[in-house]
Protein backbone atom coordinates (compact mmCIF):
# COMPACT_ATOMS: atom_id res chain seq x y z
CA UNK A 1 0.00 0.00 0.00
CA UNK A 2 1.25 3.49 -0.83
CA UNK A 3 1.48 5.89 2.06
CA UNK A 4 1.85 9.55 1.11
CA UNK A 5 4.15 10.62 3.91
CA UNK A 6 6.30 13.74 3.79
CA UNK A 7 9.24 11.72 2.48
CA UNK A 8 7.05 10.40 -0.34
CA UNK A 9 6.18 13.93 -1.36
CA UNK A 10 9.86 14.85 -1.27
CA UNK A 11 10.57 11.85 -3.52
CA UNK A 12 7.93 13.04 -6.01
CA UNK A 13 9.42 16.54 -5.91
CA UNK A 14 12.92 15.15 -6.50
CA UNK A 15 11.71 13.12 -9.50
CA UNK A 16 10.03 16.29 -10.78
CA UNK A 17 13.29 18.18 -10.31
CA UNK A 18 15.37 15.54 -12.08
CA UNK A 19 12.96 15.37 -15.01
CA UNK A 20 13.19 19.14 -15.29
CA UNK A 21 16.99 18.92 -15.24
CA UNK A 22 16.87 16.47 -18.16
CA UNK A 23 14.47 18.72 -20.10
CA UNK A 24 16.70 21.74 -19.48
CA UNK A 25 19.76 19.70 -20.47
CA UNK A 26 18.36 18.95 -23.93
CA UNK A 27 18.31 22.67 -24.73
CA UNK A 28 22.05 22.92 -24.07
CA UNK A 29 22.93 20.14 -26.52
CA UNK A 30 23.72 21.41 -30.05
CA UNK A 31 21.22 19.33 -31.98
CA UNK A 32 21.52 19.87 -35.72
CA UNK A 33 19.13 17.13 -36.84
CA UNK A 34 19.11 15.90 -40.44
CA UNK A 35 20.52 19.16 -41.92
CA UNK A 36 23.64 18.85 -39.71
CA UNK A 37 24.18 15.29 -41.00
CA UNK A 38 24.57 16.85 -44.46
CA UNK A 39 26.75 19.75 -43.16
CA UNK A 40 23.86 22.17 -43.77
CA UNK A 41 23.49 23.31 -40.14
CA UNK A 42 25.60 23.72 -37.01
CA UNK A 43 25.53 20.99 -34.37
CA UNK A 44 25.48 17.24 -34.04
CA UNK A 45 23.81 15.48 -36.96
CA UNK A 46 21.00 13.70 -35.17
CA UNK A 47 17.80 14.34 -33.22
CA UNK A 48 17.21 15.60 -29.66
CA UNK A 49 15.74 12.37 -28.33
CA UNK A 50 18.53 10.21 -29.71
CA UNK A 51 21.27 12.39 -28.23
CA UNK A 52 19.71 13.16 -24.86
CA UNK A 53 18.61 9.60 -24.24
CA UNK A 54 21.83 8.09 -25.61
CA UNK A 55 24.08 10.17 -23.41
CA UNK A 56 21.79 10.11 -20.37
CA UNK A 57 21.52 6.34 -20.42
CA UNK A 58 25.31 5.96 -20.34
CA UNK A 59 25.08 8.18 -17.25
CA UNK A 60 22.48 5.77 -15.87
CA UNK A 61 24.94 2.87 -16.23
CA UNK A 62 27.70 4.75 -14.37
CA UNK A 63 25.40 6.03 -11.61
CA UNK A 64 23.76 2.61 -11.09
CA UNK A 65 27.19 1.01 -10.70
CA UNK A 66 28.19 3.72 -8.26
CA UNK A 67 25.02 3.13 -6.23
CA UNK A 68 25.48 -0.65 -6.25
CA UNK A 69 29.06 -0.57 -4.93
CA UNK A 70 28.89 2.42 -2.65
CA UNK A 71 25.56 1.98 -0.84
CA UNK A 72 26.48 4.86 1.43
CA UNK A 73 27.33 7.12 -1.50
CA UNK A 74 25.88 10.60 -1.12
CA UNK A 75 23.13 11.63 -3.51
CA UNK A 76 25.44 14.24 -5.01
CA UNK A 77 28.12 11.64 -5.76
CA UNK A 78 25.62 9.38 -7.59
CA UNK A 79 24.46 12.43 -9.57
CA UNK A 80 28.07 13.35 -10.35
CA UNK A 81 28.75 9.80 -11.60
CA UNK A 82 25.75 10.08 -13.93
CA UNK A 83 26.89 13.52 -15.09
CA UNK A 84 30.41 12.27 -15.81
CA UNK A 85 29.25 9.24 -17.85
CA UNK A 86 26.81 11.27 -19.93
CA UNK A 87 29.22 14.16 -20.51
CA UNK A 88 32.04 11.82 -21.59
CA UNK A 89 29.69 10.08 -24.05
CA UNK A 90 28.62 13.35 -25.64
CA UNK A 91 32.14 14.84 -25.64
CA UNK A 92 33.52 11.71 -27.38
CA UNK A 93 30.69 11.89 -29.91
CA UNK A 94 31.25 15.59 -30.63
CA UNK A 95 35.01 15.15 -30.88
CA UNK A 96 34.75 12.25 -33.35
CA UNK A 97 31.94 14.04 -35.21
CA UNK A 98 34.15 17.14 -35.43
CA UNK A 99 36.93 15.04 -36.99
CA UNK A 100 34.48 13.91 -39.69
CA UNK A 101 33.35 17.48 -40.37
CA UNK A 102 36.94 18.68 -40.50
CA UNK A 103 38.72 15.91 -42.38
CA UNK A 104 35.89 13.89 -43.96
CA UNK A 105 33.49 16.52 -45.24
CA UNK A 106 36.03 19.38 -45.09
CA UNK A 107 34.05 22.27 -43.59
CA UNK A 108 35.14 24.92 -41.07
CA UNK A 109 33.16 25.02 -37.82
CA UNK A 110 30.82 28.01 -37.76
CA UNK A 111 27.73 29.05 -35.84
CA UNK A 112 24.99 30.80 -37.78
CA UNK A 113 23.33 32.19 -34.63
CA UNK A 114 26.08 34.46 -33.28
CA UNK A 115 28.55 36.77 -35.01
CA UNK A 116 31.37 35.88 -32.62
CA UNK A 117 31.92 32.75 -30.54
CA UNK A 118 31.22 33.88 -26.92
CA UNK A 119 34.12 31.74 -25.62
CA UNK A 120 36.88 32.15 -28.21
CA UNK A 121 35.71 35.52 -29.57
CA UNK A 122 36.35 34.26 -33.10
CA UNK A 123 34.26 35.51 -36.06
CA UNK A 124 31.62 33.01 -37.16
CA UNK A 125 29.57 34.68 -39.91
CA UNK A 126 32.48 34.76 -42.38
CA UNK A 127 32.81 31.00 -42.21
CA UNK A 128 29.16 30.12 -42.85
CA UNK A 129 29.22 28.77 -46.39
CA UNK A 130 26.59 29.66 -48.98
CA UNK A 131 23.16 28.08 -48.63
CA UNK A 132 23.79 26.62 -45.15
CA UNK A 133 22.90 27.44 -41.54
CA UNK A 134 26.47 26.97 -40.31
CA UNK A 135 28.47 23.75 -40.05
CA UNK A 136 30.39 21.63 -37.58
CA UNK A 137 30.71 22.02 -33.82
CA UNK A 138 32.31 25.34 -32.76
CA UNK A 139 33.75 25.68 -29.22
CA UNK A 140 30.63 27.30 -27.73
CA UNK A 141 28.47 24.43 -29.02
CA UNK A 142 30.96 21.86 -27.67
CA UNK A 143 31.04 23.41 -24.18
CA UNK A 144 27.26 23.89 -24.16
CA UNK A 145 26.79 20.24 -25.17
CA UNK A 146 29.09 18.97 -22.41
CA UNK A 147 27.25 21.06 -19.80
CA UNK A 148 23.89 19.85 -21.13
CA UNK A 149 24.88 16.19 -21.09
CA UNK A 150 26.21 16.58 -17.54
CA UNK A 151 22.90 18.10 -16.42
CA UNK A 152 20.96 15.28 -18.08
CA UNK A 153 23.19 12.60 -16.58
CA UNK A 154 22.88 14.20 -13.13
CA UNK A 155 19.10 14.24 -13.52
CA UNK A 156 19.07 10.56 -14.48
CA UNK A 157 21.33 9.72 -11.52
CA UNK A 158 18.96 11.56 -9.17
CA UNK A 159 15.85 9.69 -10.38
CA UNK A 160 17.69 6.38 -10.04
CA UNK A 161 18.88 7.28 -6.53
CA UNK A 162 15.40 8.32 -5.37
CA UNK A 163 13.68 5.27 -6.84
CA UNK A 164 16.26 2.87 -5.46
CA UNK A 165 15.76 4.33 -1.98
CA UNK A 166 12.03 3.82 -2.38
CA UNK A 167 11.93 0.40 -4.09
CA UNK A 168 14.80 -1.43 -2.35
CA UNK A 169 12.89 -2.09 0.93
CA UNK A 170 9.95 -3.43 -1.14
CA UNK A 171 11.62 -5.49 -3.88
CA UNK A 172 15.31 -5.71 -3.08
CA UNK A 173 16.10 -8.22 -5.85
CA UNK A 174 14.67 -6.38 -8.83
CA UNK A 175 14.65 -2.79 -7.56
CA UNK A 176 17.52 -1.86 -9.90
CA UNK A 177 15.66 -3.16 -12.96
CA UNK A 178 12.42 -1.32 -12.16
CA UNK A 179 14.26 1.89 -11.22
CA UNK A 180 16.39 1.64 -14.37
CA UNK A 181 13.44 1.12 -16.72
CA UNK A 182 11.50 3.93 -15.05
CA UNK A 183 14.48 6.28 -15.32
CA UNK A 184 14.73 5.44 -19.02
CA UNK A 185 11.04 6.30 -19.42
CA UNK A 186 11.46 9.68 -17.70
CA UNK A 187 14.46 10.34 -19.99
CA UNK A 188 12.38 9.76 -23.10
CA UNK A 189 9.45 11.83 -21.84
CA UNK A 190 11.72 14.77 -21.06
CA UNK A 191 13.66 14.45 -24.31
CA UNK A 192 10.48 14.61 -26.37
CA UNK A 193 9.07 17.74 -24.67
CA UNK A 194 11.92 20.03 -25.88
CA UNK A 195 11.67 18.58 -29.42
CA UNK A 196 8.41 20.47 -29.88
CA UNK A 197 9.85 23.67 -28.42
CA UNK A 198 13.11 23.78 -30.36
CA UNK A 199 11.50 22.49 -33.56
CA UNK A 200 14.16 19.87 -34.23
CA UNK A 201 17.32 21.98 -34.06
CA UNK A 202 19.07 24.22 -31.53
CA UNK A 203 22.72 25.30 -31.36
CA UNK A 204 22.99 25.48 -27.57
CA UNK A 205 22.93 28.08 -24.83
CA UNK A 206 23.89 30.93 -27.19
CA UNK A 207 21.03 30.27 -29.61
CA UNK A 208 18.26 32.93 -29.28
CA UNK A 209 15.82 30.02 -29.38
CA UNK A 210 17.20 28.91 -26.00
CA UNK A 211 15.83 31.93 -24.10
CA UNK A 212 12.58 31.82 -26.04
CA UNK A 213 11.62 28.19 -25.43
CA UNK A 214 13.28 27.19 -22.14
CA UNK A 215 10.68 28.75 -19.77
CA UNK A 216 7.73 27.08 -21.52
CA UNK A 217 9.45 23.72 -21.87
CA UNK A 218 10.70 23.72 -18.27
CA UNK A 219 7.20 24.57 -16.99
CA UNK A 220 5.72 21.69 -19.03
CA UNK A 221 8.46 19.37 -17.85
CA UNK A 222 7.87 20.20 -14.15
CA UNK A 223 4.22 19.16 -14.46
CA UNK A 224 4.87 16.05 -16.54
CA UNK A 225 7.81 14.89 -14.39
CA UNK A 226 5.82 15.34 -11.18
CA UNK A 227 3.12 13.19 -12.76
CA UNK A 228 5.81 10.59 -13.55
CA UNK A 229 6.88 10.84 -9.91
CA UNK A 230 3.32 10.14 -8.73
CA UNK A 231 3.12 7.11 -11.06
CA UNK A 232 6.51 5.87 -9.79
CA UNK A 233 5.18 5.94 -6.23
CA UNK A 234 1.78 4.47 -7.18
CA UNK A 235 3.29 1.41 -8.87
CA UNK A 236 5.08 0.68 -5.62
CA UNK A 237 1.62 -0.19 -4.22
CA UNK A 238 1.76 -3.49 -6.08
CA UNK A 239 5.21 -4.37 -4.80
CA UNK A 240 4.26 -5.27 -1.22
Amino acid sequence: MVVFATTTLIDILLIGLSGTLICLAVHFIPVGGAPAAMAQATGIGTGTVELAAGSGLVGLITSSYMYAYEPKAAMLLVMAAGAMGAAIMLASTMLAGGLIYAYGVAVPFASAQVKKDPITGERQDNYVSKGTQGQGIPTICFVSGVVGAALGGAGGGLIYFVLMQYYTPLIAGSAAAVAGVFTMGVFYVNSVIPSYGVGGTIEGVHDPKFRRVVPKDVFTSVIVSMLCGVVAILIAGGMV
Partner: protein
Protein backbone atom coordinates in the same frame (compact mmCIF):
# COMPACT_ATOMS: atom_id res chain seq x y z
CA UNK B 1 32.55 -9.66 -8.41
CA UNK B 2 35.39 -7.45 -7.15
CA UNK B 3 38.54 -7.65 -9.29
CA UNK B 4 42.00 -6.38 -8.50
CA UNK B 5 43.26 -3.30 -10.34
CA UNK B 6 45.17 -5.19 -13.04
CA UNK B 7 42.23 -7.43 -13.90
CA UNK B 8 39.83 -4.47 -13.80
CA UNK B 9 42.00 -2.57 -16.28
CA UNK B 10 42.30 -5.67 -18.49
CA UNK B 11 38.51 -6.11 -18.53
CA UNK B 12 38.06 -2.41 -19.24
CA UNK B 13 40.53 -2.58 -22.13
CA UNK B 14 38.70 -5.57 -23.63
CA UNK B 15 35.39 -3.73 -23.28
CA UNK B 16 36.87 -0.66 -24.97
CA UNK B 17 38.19 -2.78 -27.86
CA UNK B 18 34.85 -4.60 -28.30
CA UNK B 19 33.01 -1.27 -28.18
CA UNK B 20 35.30 0.14 -30.88
CA UNK B 21 34.42 -2.76 -33.19
CA UNK B 22 30.70 -2.41 -32.34
CA UNK B 23 30.69 1.33 -33.09
CA UNK B 24 32.54 0.90 -36.36
CA UNK B 25 30.34 -1.93 -37.64
CA UNK B 26 27.12 -0.23 -36.50
CA UNK B 27 27.92 2.80 -38.61
CA UNK B 28 28.79 0.66 -41.60
CA UNK B 29 25.52 -1.26 -41.18
CA UNK B 30 23.60 2.03 -41.25
CA UNK B 31 25.52 3.01 -44.41
CA UNK B 32 24.99 -0.26 -46.27
CA UNK B 33 21.28 -0.16 -45.43
CA UNK B 34 21.04 3.65 -45.67
CA UNK B 35 19.41 4.59 -42.41
CA UNK B 36 18.95 7.63 -40.20
CA UNK B 37 19.28 11.26 -41.29
CA UNK B 38 21.20 10.87 -44.60
CA UNK B 39 18.47 8.51 -45.79
CA UNK B 40 16.17 11.53 -46.09
CA UNK B 41 18.17 12.40 -49.22
CA UNK B 42 17.87 8.86 -50.60
CA UNK B 43 14.13 9.16 -50.03
CA UNK B 44 14.02 12.64 -51.59
CA UNK B 45 16.01 11.81 -54.76
CA UNK B 46 13.20 10.02 -56.67
CA UNK B 47 10.91 12.96 -55.87
CA UNK B 48 13.42 15.14 -57.74
CA UNK B 49 13.28 12.70 -60.67
CA UNK B 50 16.59 11.04 -59.77
CA UNK B 51 16.05 7.29 -59.60
CA UNK B 52 18.78 5.29 -57.86
CA UNK B 53 19.95 1.82 -56.80
CA UNK B 54 20.61 2.66 -53.13
CA UNK B 55 19.05 0.43 -50.43
CA UNK B 56 16.49 2.47 -48.47
CA UNK B 57 15.50 0.86 -45.20
CA UNK B 58 15.31 3.31 -42.23
CA UNK B 59 13.46 0.90 -39.93
CA UNK B 60 13.40 3.74 -37.40
CA UNK B 61 15.97 6.10 -35.86
CA UNK B 62 19.30 4.29 -35.44
CA UNK B 63 19.24 4.25 -31.62
CA UNK B 64 15.83 2.61 -31.49
CA UNK B 65 16.51 -0.02 -34.17
CA UNK B 66 19.87 -0.94 -32.64
CA UNK B 67 18.44 -0.92 -29.13
CA UNK B 68 15.66 -3.23 -30.29
CA UNK B 69 18.10 -5.56 -32.00
CA UNK B 70 20.50 -5.63 -29.04
CA UNK B 71 17.73 -6.28 -26.52
CA UNK B 72 16.56 -9.30 -28.54
CA UNK B 73 20.13 -10.58 -28.57
CA UNK B 74 20.39 -9.96 -24.82
CA UNK B 75 17.08 -11.73 -24.10
CA UNK B 76 17.93 -14.85 -26.10
CA UNK B 77 21.38 -14.94 -24.51
CA UNK B 78 19.86 -14.63 -21.05
CA UNK B 79 17.45 -17.49 -21.71
CA UNK B 80 20.24 -19.70 -23.03
CA UNK B 81 22.49 -18.84 -20.08
CA UNK B 82 19.70 -19.90 -17.74
CA UNK B 83 19.53 -23.16 -19.71
CA UNK B 84 23.21 -23.69 -18.79
CA UNK B 85 24.62 -22.94 -22.25
CA UNK B 86 28.29 -21.99 -22.51
CA UNK B 87 28.40 -18.12 -22.44
CA UNK B 88 30.10 -17.72 -25.83
CA UNK B 89 27.60 -20.07 -27.50
CA UNK B 90 24.71 -18.26 -25.83
CA UNK B 91 25.96 -14.85 -27.02
CA UNK B 92 26.55 -16.08 -30.59
CA UNK B 93 23.09 -17.67 -30.80
CA UNK B 94 21.47 -14.57 -29.25
CA UNK B 95 23.19 -12.28 -31.76
CA UNK B 96 22.25 -14.63 -34.62
CA UNK B 97 18.52 -14.57 -33.75
CA UNK B 98 18.58 -10.78 -33.32
CA UNK B 99 20.34 -10.31 -36.67
CA UNK B 100 17.80 -12.51 -38.49
CA UNK B 101 14.88 -10.53 -37.05
CA UNK B 102 16.70 -7.32 -37.99
CA UNK B 103 17.04 -8.67 -41.53
CA UNK B 104 13.26 -9.21 -41.70
CA UNK B 105 12.70 -5.61 -40.60
CA UNK B 106 15.24 -4.35 -43.15
CA UNK B 107 13.53 -6.22 -45.99
CA UNK B 108 10.03 -5.05 -45.11
CA UNK B 109 11.25 -1.49 -44.53
CA UNK B 110 12.98 -1.39 -47.94
CA UNK B 111 9.99 -2.86 -49.77
CA UNK B 112 7.60 -0.58 -47.90
CA UNK B 113 9.57 2.57 -48.53
CA UNK B 114 10.03 1.91 -52.23
CA UNK B 115 6.37 0.90 -52.57
CA UNK B 116 5.40 4.29 -51.14
CA UNK B 117 7.36 5.94 -53.96
CA UNK B 118 5.48 4.29 -56.83
CA UNK B 119 4.21 7.62 -58.07
CA UNK B 120 7.81 8.78 -58.55
CA UNK B 121 8.60 5.62 -60.63
CA UNK B 122 11.34 4.42 -58.24
CA UNK B 123 11.75 0.67 -58.96
CA UNK B 124 12.24 -1.98 -56.29
CA UNK B 125 15.43 -3.72 -57.46
CA UNK B 126 15.27 -7.36 -56.40
CA UNK B 127 18.99 -7.88 -57.00
CA UNK B 128 19.76 -4.95 -54.66
CA UNK B 129 17.56 -6.53 -52.01
CA UNK B 130 19.13 -9.96 -52.56
CA UNK B 131 22.76 -8.98 -52.16
CA UNK B 132 22.43 -6.07 -49.71
CA UNK B 133 20.17 -7.66 -47.07
CA UNK B 134 22.67 -10.43 -46.15
CA UNK B 135 25.29 -7.73 -45.70
CA UNK B 136 22.96 -5.83 -43.32
CA UNK B 137 22.31 -9.04 -41.38
CA UNK B 138 26.05 -9.79 -41.21
CA UNK B 139 26.91 -6.32 -39.93
CA UNK B 140 24.10 -6.41 -37.38
CA UNK B 141 25.24 -9.81 -36.13
CA UNK B 142 28.69 -8.42 -35.30
CA UNK B 143 27.15 -5.36 -33.59
CA UNK B 144 24.81 -7.52 -31.49
CA UNK B 145 27.59 -9.93 -30.62
CA UNK B 146 29.79 -7.07 -29.39
CA UNK B 147 27.04 -5.28 -27.45
CA UNK B 148 25.75 -8.44 -25.76
CA UNK B 149 29.38 -9.38 -24.93
CA UNK B 150 29.89 -5.99 -23.23
CA UNK B 151 26.62 -6.46 -21.33
CA UNK B 152 27.63 -9.99 -20.30
CA UNK B 153 31.02 -8.76 -19.03
CA UNK B 154 29.36 -5.92 -17.11
CA UNK B 155 26.72 -8.20 -15.58
CA UNK B 156 28.61 -11.43 -14.93
CA UNK B 157 32.18 -10.23 -14.32
CA UNK B 158 31.85 -6.66 -13.06
CA UNK B 159 28.55 -7.23 -11.23
CA UNK B 160 26.45 -4.38 -12.62
CA UNK B 161 22.99 -4.27 -11.00
CA UNK B 162 21.14 -4.09 -14.36
CA UNK B 163 20.32 -7.27 -16.31
CA UNK B 164 21.98 -8.35 -19.61
CA UNK B 165 19.00 -7.42 -21.86
CA UNK B 166 18.63 -4.02 -20.20
CA UNK B 167 22.35 -3.25 -20.48
CA UNK B 168 22.26 -4.41 -24.12
CA UNK B 169 19.29 -2.10 -24.74
CA UNK B 170 21.16 0.87 -23.28
CA UNK B 171 24.32 0.15 -25.27
CA UNK B 172 22.22 -0.40 -28.41
CA UNK B 173 20.60 3.00 -27.96
CA UNK B 174 23.98 4.61 -27.27
CA UNK B 175 25.76 3.01 -30.23
CA UNK B 176 22.88 4.13 -32.46
CA UNK B 177 23.07 7.68 -31.10
CA UNK B 178 26.84 7.80 -31.70
CA UNK B 179 26.62 6.21 -35.16
CA UNK B 180 23.89 8.61 -36.11
CA UNK B 181 25.92 11.61 -34.89
CA UNK B 182 29.38 10.69 -36.13
CA UNK B 183 29.61 8.24 -39.02
CA UNK B 184 26.43 9.31 -40.75
CA UNK B 185 27.95 12.72 -41.39
CA UNK B 186 30.58 11.03 -43.56
CA UNK B 187 27.84 9.22 -45.49
CA UNK B 188 25.39 12.14 -45.68
CA UNK B 189 27.76 15.09 -45.89
CA UNK B 190 30.46 13.58 -48.10
CA UNK B 191 29.59 10.33 -49.88
CA UNK B 192 26.05 11.23 -50.97
CA UNK B 193 27.20 14.64 -52.23
CA UNK B 194 30.64 14.21 -53.76
CA UNK B 195 29.37 16.50 -56.52
CA UNK B 196 29.37 19.58 -54.23
CA UNK B 197 32.16 22.12 -54.10
CA UNK B 198 35.01 20.89 -51.88
CA UNK B 199 35.72 22.76 -48.63
CA UNK B 200 32.23 24.07 -47.83
CA UNK B 201 28.89 22.89 -46.47
CA UNK B 202 26.11 21.46 -48.60
CA UNK B 203 24.05 24.17 -50.26
CA UNK B 204 20.34 23.59 -49.54
CA UNK B 205 19.69 23.88 -53.28
CA UNK B 206 21.50 20.54 -53.73
CA UNK B 207 19.13 18.64 -51.41
CA UNK B 208 18.02 15.36 -52.95
CA UNK B 209 20.59 15.56 -55.77
CA UNK B 210 22.62 12.59 -54.55
CA UNK B 211 25.47 11.11 -56.59
CA UNK B 212 24.17 8.04 -58.45
CA UNK B 213 27.21 7.02 -60.47
CA UNK B 214 29.91 4.87 -58.90
CA UNK B 215 33.62 4.61 -59.59
CA UNK B 216 32.47 1.98 -62.10
CA UNK B 217 28.83 1.66 -63.19
CA UNK B 218 25.85 2.70 -61.09
CA UNK B 219 26.38 3.35 -57.39
CA UNK B 220 24.82 0.98 -54.87
CA UNK B 221 24.94 0.65 -51.09
CA UNK B 222 27.95 -1.65 -51.15
CA UNK B 223 29.94 1.11 -52.88
CA UNK B 224 28.89 3.44 -50.08
CA UNK B 225 29.97 1.13 -47.28
CA UNK B 226 33.34 0.62 -49.02
CA UNK B 227 33.89 4.38 -48.93
CA UNK B 228 32.57 4.99 -45.39
CA UNK B 229 34.69 2.14 -44.00
CA UNK B 230 37.74 4.37 -44.61
CA UNK B 231 36.77 7.08 -42.12
CA UNK B 232 33.13 7.28 -40.94
CA UNK B 233 33.06 3.76 -39.47
CA UNK B 234 36.41 3.89 -37.63
CA UNK B 235 35.62 7.37 -36.23
CA UNK B 236 32.32 6.06 -34.83
CA UNK B 237 34.18 3.11 -33.34
CA UNK B 238 36.66 5.45 -31.66
CA UNK B 239 33.79 7.51 -30.21
CA UNK B 240 32.07 4.47 -28.65
CA UNK B 241 35.40 3.01 -27.51
CA UNK B 242 36.30 6.29 -25.80
CA UNK B 243 32.85 6.42 -24.19
CA UNK B 244 33.06 2.90 -22.77
CA UNK B 245 36.67 3.29 -21.66
CA UNK B 246 36.64 6.79 -20.19
CA UNK B 247 33.23 6.50 -18.49
CA UNK B 248 34.64 3.70 -16.30
CA UNK B 249 38.39 4.38 -16.20
CA UNK B 250 38.38 7.11 -13.50
CA UNK B 251 36.28 5.02 -11.08
CA UNK B 252 38.36 1.90 -11.80
CA UNK B 253 41.57 3.66 -10.77
CA UNK B 254 40.41 6.12 -8.11
CA UNK B 255 37.32 4.30 -6.81
CA UNK B 256 33.96 5.89 -6.20
CA UNK B 257 35.25 9.19 -4.97
CA UNK B 258 35.18 12.86 -5.86
CA UNK B 259 38.76 12.46 -7.11
CA UNK B 260 37.46 10.19 -9.87
CA UNK B 261 34.85 12.81 -10.75
CA UNK B 262 37.63 15.42 -10.91
CA UNK B 263 39.59 13.20 -13.32
CA UNK B 264 36.43 12.96 -15.43
CA UNK B 265 36.32 16.76 -15.61
CA UNK B 266 39.98 16.82 -16.73
CA UNK B 267 39.18 14.30 -19.51
CA UNK B 268 36.34 16.55 -20.65
CA UNK B 269 38.62 19.60 -20.62
CA UNK B 270 41.22 17.76 -22.74
CA UNK B 271 38.52 16.77 -25.27
CA UNK B 272 37.32 20.38 -25.45
CA UNK B 273 40.86 21.59 -26.16
CA UNK B 274 41.29 18.91 -28.85
CA UNK B 275 38.06 20.04 -30.53
CA UNK B 276 39.33 23.64 -30.42
CA UNK B 277 42.63 22.63 -32.06
CA UNK B 278 40.71 20.88 -34.85
CA UNK B 279 38.54 24.01 -35.22
CA UNK B 280 41.60 26.27 -35.57
CA UNK B 281 43.23 23.91 -38.05
CA UNK B 282 40.17 23.56 -40.25
CA UNK B 283 39.45 27.28 -40.26
CA UNK B 284 42.94 27.87 -41.58
CA UNK B 285 42.36 25.31 -44.34
CA UNK B 286 38.89 26.38 -45.56
CA UNK B 287 37.08 29.71 -45.63
CA UNK B 288 36.41 32.48 -44.88
CA UNK B 289 33.69 32.58 -47.51
CA UNK B 290 32.67 36.21 -47.01
CA UNK B 291 34.92 39.21 -46.77
CA UNK B 292 34.84 41.16 -43.50
CA UNK B 293 33.00 44.48 -44.02
CA UNK B 294 35.59 46.43 -41.99
CA UNK B 295 38.47 44.93 -43.97
CA UNK B 296 36.63 45.74 -47.20
CA UNK B 297 36.18 49.37 -46.15
CA UNK B 298 39.83 49.63 -45.04
CA UNK B 299 40.99 48.26 -48.39
CA UNK B 300 38.80 50.79 -50.21
Amino acid sequence: MVLDLTMSMAVLAIMGAIATIAGCIEDLESDVGSQSNPNSQVQLAPQMGLLHRIYNKAISGEPISNGFSAVIGGLVTNVLLNAKFFPLTAIVLGAFVAALIYGIFATTAYAGRVASQTRFKQPLYMDVMRYTTPSIIGHNFIVCFCLVSISYIQYAILGYPLSIPFLALIWGISVGAIGSSVGDVHYGGEREFQNREFGCGLNTALSGRIVRKAESGLRNSLDNVWFCAKFGGPATGIALGLTVFFSSWPTTIWGYTWTAMGVGVIILAVMTVMNRLVEINVKKSYGPYKEDKNEKEAAA
